[in-house]
Amino acid sequence: MITAVLIALVVLGGSAGDVFITKGMKQLGEVSTLNAGRLLAIFGRAITNRYFLIGVLFMAVSYFSFLGALRLADLSLVLPATSISFVITTIGARLFLNETISPMRWAGILLVGIGVALISIPSQP
């Protein structure tokens, strides 16, 4: 039960983190310079952007939940289970970032999720 909660935290934390980081970066505007000084200025604005920081915080929650889940369950369960986050993050992007997910994109995302699940199940010794 605790394992399930932790895996949910890994997935939801990671997805929320990605959504907030995207919101923060979109707020900063398109990065379109290679000038070192300007890049540094953008970096400074990013790490002081509220959405960006909340995103990083969610990422940290996800990461530590992942470590916690690994203490209770095998990597062979935890890692494939987290591949559902491709779908969850996409739903988040649609709901909170107003992104349009075409059938083509959905198909690609589902394939990626299935492929990641297949890859992350460890081989039997």
């Binding site: 990065v31 491709f86 996409t90 970032l97 107003n98 690609g108 999720g113 299935i114």
Partner: protein, 147 residues
């Protein structure tokens, strides 16, 4: 084009970062997986943390993963999350290949199969346009990353 360059650089940095981290961490005494008491596991973790901080490979790996995160965030400043996230999943394919060629890992047919399915998925996503949310006028459906 910009998206392609940024994301491919990000993915390569991530793959090599993971290889460096794995090489570095494998050189460190193995982590016990049996569930011990809290204070026992805490001292174990702090011991491993000390060793980790002294590994150059771990530092290089961490630096490469920071490069990945910076480029990933930059791409998110103009492209969809639902485009960038699955596109970077191509890193898993590179990880499988890098594990095979640089770390001598045995890769099962299932994992190669997963790599092929991911590649197919990334191709689909790259054909779906890279920006749909908060779109500036006239820039709907910009060309995808792999086109």
């Amino acid at each position: 084009m910009k998206t392609a360059v940024v994301l491919i650089t990000a993915i390569v940095a991530q793959a090599f970062g993971d290889v460096c981290l794995t090489k570095g961490m494998k050189a460190i005494s193995s982590l016990e997986t049996s569930a011990g008491g809290f204070s026992e596991s805490l001292s174990q973790v702090s011991h491993i943390a000390m060793q980790t901080m002294q590994s150059p490979m771990v530092w290089v790996g961490t630096l490469l993963l920071i490069v990945f995160f910076v480029l990933y965030s930059a791409a998110l400043s103009w492209a969809d999350l639902s485009f960038v996230l699955p596109a970077t999943a191509f890193g898993y394919v590179l990880n499988v290949a890098a594990g095979h060629y640089f770390l001598g890992e045995l890769v099962s047919n299932r994992r190669w199969g997963g790599a092929v399915i991911i590649t197919l998925g990334v191709l689909f996503v790259s054909r779906s346009g890279q920006r749909t949310g908060e779109t500036p006028p006239g820039e709907l459906h910009a060309p995808g990353v792999l086109e």
